[in-house]
Symmetry: C2
Subunit: 264 residues, 2 copies
């Protein structure tokens, strides 16, 4: 902890902010504030007690007492500006965070500040996640039979005018197969698959099959899919994760997901 101020005078807080709103520091401010945003949209947030966090990449978050998501934010900031202002005899501290591309401003007006802390957080660890969609891709590439007996993979991430096809292949009767993989398929997923099938039909000779590969699907979306003569193949995410860990083990000698990292 580089600095910790409790109930500072706003001028005192301004001094600390002026010195520490740079890339090397993480700054937290607890206080009573109003927030305005203007840019891609426009928002206002009246008086309330919130946490403002300025991270070391200048990303800035205004968190209320509820919810995962911040009330206001700036993903990465080009410039900060701090000033104090007297409004009707009351002193306020104003923190403005601006960026271009897109052009946006967040303005936080503090009436009271309860706490300011400054840190240099050291965190060199990378987050490792398994169970992403790409893990299903890997899993198919590793063992195409999980989709269908005799499937041959021709290309991954095949580019078409309508976008990228996840997996492109042929079945054992030499029909083209377009595979769209999705963890959480929705109506758009079906349209997307349709889009790819249309493109391949335009460009290639012969029959084209479109297959959605997902761990689950709702009845309505399954109907929607089958109405368009598309197919559905279910995969088990547990198996996908397990198979990935097996590969991981054999390749690196040691899994990133050893038992000692379990949540039990």
């Amino acid at each position: 902890m580089d600095t910790l101020l409790q109930n500072p005078d706003l001028s005192e807080a301004k001094k600390v902010l002026d010195e520490h709103l740079r890339r090397e520091f993480t700054v937290q401010i607890n206080g009573l504030c109003t927030v305005n945003y203007q840019g891609r949209a426009k928002s206002k947030l009246d008086r309330g007690e919130r946490l403002v966090i300025k991270k070391q990449d200048t990303a800035t978050l205004v968190h209320g007492p509820e919810n995962y998501q911040p009330k206001n934010w700036q993903p990465e900031v080009d410039s900060f500006n701090v000033k104090t202002e007297k409004i009707e005899g009351e002193k306020h501290l104003i923190l403005k965070a601006e960026r271009t591309n897109p052009e946006e401003v967040v303005k936080v007006r503090f009436e009271e500040i309860d706490l300011v802390t400054v840190d240099k957080l050291i965190d060199k660890s990378e987050l490792k996640v398994r169970g992403h969609e790409v893990d299903i891709h890997e899993s198919i590439e590793e063992n195409p039979d999980i989709i269908e007996d005799g499937l041959t993979i021709v290309e991954r991430e095949k580019e078409t005018p309508a976008g990228f096809i996840d997996v492109f292949g042929r079945d054992k009767k030499d029909r083209w197969i377009v595979i769209e993989v999705k963890r959480n398929p929705d109506y758009n997923t079906i349209l997307q698959l349709q889009r790819y099938v249309d493109e391949i039909e335009k460009e290639y000779q012969g029959e084209v099959r479109g297959i959605l590969v997902a761990p689950k699907i709702t009845d309505k979306i399954l109907d929607y899919l089958q109405d368009r003569d598309l197919e559905y193949v279910e995969v088990d995410m547990e198996n996908v994760i397990a198979s990935y860990e097996a590969i991981d083990n054999s390749q690196k000698g040691l899994s990133d997901f050893d038992a000692d990292y379990s949540v039990d």
Copy 2:
């Protein structure tokens, strides 16, 4: 500020957490920790200094020194569990946050804690945002001419077998018009519009035009749209917001977006 502990002993920290991991309190913990998650996917995060925030709705965030998004989180938690553990002579504090539906666990293992604070944040203000997609709808209804001279609106949110049409109308030559409004149009938007047009052509007599209304579009998607004989009309979000504010003013006597809330 209800409580503030600097560099507490882990047992001391545990005592404070046991008392305050309930809905009424916001708890912040700065410390050196590892984090594991298991549920819809699986993740692990090695040692690093992070901020853990437990909000008053039990939402829990683990923020690293960078990025808008937390490294790990739990949107709303069903139960917390705190314990201390001796591993190879080192005492650790373990915070487990679990929820069902979906079944997920986040486990944070602290080796050191720099700071614990407990607050009851009071924030009754509602965030007010303008510039959503629905504001464009309003804007079109208010003044159809922004799309095209002589446009008559027949129906909003018109149901078809392919989904809901944002705006359905007629042009001055009595052709049907299907309008799809989108802040961030993509390829699927085009296919969706196409499907609505197809539905209307099936069901109605006469020519049918499909119009995408958006504040911006990429060249490729514009091509994709024009290949399908669909049209694009650009709207200026500034105008949409301004017109909304004008309506707001006239209806409520006072805008929610007065000049004193500007970001200047």
